[in-house]
């Protein structure tokens, strides 16, 4: 589903964010990217979402070489990908409903379809009944769940998340992780960047450990 082949990413400042990273994530897999901050976790996810392109190497998503994707095809590519951001990236001048509906509106879904899917997504994150609220009236954890609802509303095959529990207390963090586990159970491929090792300790998932832009460890479930 997601395949990195000897991927390098060097920023114009000269910083080498990724230095020869290779791994392969199968369809339906659930993996964490761990490592200290600045190790390249965010960069790796940004390469998947085509927010950036690799300097060298190949990134394949859904068997599609992202380097060969022309600019005008990026929107369609992103529509098939769910992305959860650490800072939620919600639109605060719109209701919760409108925030979750945005990717569906972009995809051109009918009004009934949008209504149905937004409610389903909000139900999954436990926010059904809050559709009309502006996001600013919600707590940070609830806002993050709105962000997750928006990512899963179009039912993407792949969900990537950058520090989705970064600002949350342990209790809320566990809830979010349980949420991701449920998505994985229905077949969604997940790749989640986190530095919270304590949180994922007891979760039986593969871990890709990045250190200074290199893959320091790839611990799959079997080897532990």
């Amino acid at each position: 589903m997601i395949r990195f082949e000897n991927v390098h990413k060097r920023y114009p400042t000269g910083r080498e964010a990724l230095n020869g990273v290779s791994f392969n994530l199968e369809r339906g897999e659930f993996a964490f990217i761990t490592g200290p901050s600045g190790a390249g976790k965010s960069t790796l996810l940004r390469l998947i979402a085509l927010i950036e392109r690799p300097t060298r190497g190949t990134v394949l998503v859904n068997n599609q070489n992202t380097a060969r994707l022309p600019r005008r095809k990026i929107p369609g590519f992103r529509q098939r990908l769910g992305v959860v951001f650490q800072d939620h990236k919600l639109l605060y001048d719109r209701s919760v409903f409108d925030n979750v509906a945005l990717p569906l509106v972009i995809a051109g879904a009918s009004r009934r379809e949008i209504e149905k899917r937004v409610r389903a997504a909000l139900d999954q994150v436990g926010l059904l009944g809050r559709e009309g609220h502006p996001p600013i009236t919600l707590s940070t954890g609830e806002q993050q769940r709105v962000g997750i609802a928006r990512a899963v509303a179009p039912r993407p095959d792949v969900l990537i998340a950058d520090e989705p529990t970064g600002n949350l207390d342990p209790e809320l963090s566990r809830e979010i992780m349980e949420l991701f586990t449920r998505f994985n159970e229905v077949g969604v491929t997940l790749l989640i960047a986190t530095h919270d090792l304590e949180l994922i300790e007891r979760m039986p998932h593969r871990r890709l450990r990045l250190v200074a832009g290199q893959l320091a460890a790839d611990t799959s479930v079997e080897s532990r």
Binding site: R72, P75, R78, Q79, L81, K89, L91, L102, I106, R111
Partner: protein, 302 residues
């Protein structure tokens, strides 16, 4: 297809709502656009009216032929009748020296002075209205009449009409240029307003792009915003022109009445009104299009 129209309708309504939510800022921008559009529209109305007025002065082509004082009135009358028979003469009005004198006495206020004269110093005269009107070759007709042995003087007064025509043509050209420049100004004003709007909504643009919004999807609300600005400006410009016409209409009518004319100011024709409204909407759309083309690419997800 219906969904496509739904989307556009939503964008249009959204743009209108956005303008209505900040009425003061919107009013200022729309007012600037309206003034920029009302100026050429008003000038156009002015030139059109002046043109209509000069066309109305068919009598301006009339000229007066004075007979030599030694030509008897009967002879003069006969010559006048010959003139009337000409193809290039529409009509004549013969004024014999007797009635000219009594009219002069009644209206000029020099009645007493005339009493002091021996006879009638005035010649017979005939007012000739050329068949061709102002635009025709009045000069050659006048020259032919002037060449007759019985006539003394042909007083031709069409020169100023030709000059007025020429001036109106120059004014029309200037209005065309002003229209072009002010149209550019409208597009720039809308473009700049949209540019600020893009800056204000950069988060929205970024997020929309992140969840897969196409450039067209991101651009559309701004295009409709420009469209609304342009159309609202054009409507206000139309109102400004109408109010101005209403304000100067009655004094102009009184002025015309003093000259014995029932001339009334004409407003914008239906075609010109549509041109104004359509032009405004199109300029707004274009200005917004230029601004978005220039700035949307700059806002990429970071």
């Amino acid at each position: 297809m219906r969904r496509y129209f739904d989307l556009h309708l939503q964008n249009l309504l959204g743009a209108c709502g956005r303008l209505a939510r900040q009425p003061f800022a919107t009013l200022l921008t729309v007012l600037v656009i309206a003034i920029a559009m009302a100026l050429p529209a008003g000038l156009r109305v002015l030139v059109n009216n002046a043109g209509a007025l000069s066309a109305e002065w068919q009598s301006a082509a009339d000229f007066t032929v004075y007979f030599k004082t030694d030509v008897p009135t009967d002879k003069a009358r006969a010559v006048a009748r010959q003139l009337e028979a000409r193809d290039d003469v529409a009509s004549i009005q013969f004024i014999d020296r007797g009635s000219a004198l009594s009219e002069f006495r009644a209206h000029s206020g020099f009645g007493d002075a005339l009493e002091a004269l021996d006879g009638n110093p005035l010649p017979d005269a005939v007012v000739v209205r050329p068949a061709s009107g102002v635009s025709g070759n009045v000069e050659s007709l006048a020259a032919a009449i002037d060449a007759l042995p019985e006539t003394d003087l042909v007083q031709l007064d069409t020169q100023w009409v030709a000059r007025l025509r020429a001036m109106l043509a120059v004014a029309g050209r200037i209005v065309d240029l002003a229209t072009g420049l002010l149209a550019l100004a409208v597009a720039v004003v809308v473009g700049n307003t949209i540019r600020l709007e893009i800056n204000n909504r950069s988060t929205e643009i970024e997020v929309t792009k992140l969840v897969g919004g196409t450039d067209a999807f991101v651009r559309r609300p701004f295009l409709y915003l420009g469209f609304c600005y342009g159309l609202a400006g054009a409507v206000l410009a139309e109102l400004l022109v109408l109010v101005t016409l209403a304000l100067i209409g009655s004094p102009v009518h009184e002025l015309a009445a003093l000259y014995g004319s029932d001339f009334a100011l004409a407003g914008l024709s239906l075609r010109e009104t549509f041109a104004l409204l359509g032009g405004g909407a199109l300029l707004g759309w274009t200005g917004a299009g230029l601004a978005t083309a220039r700035h949307l690419r700059a806002i990429e997800p970071k």
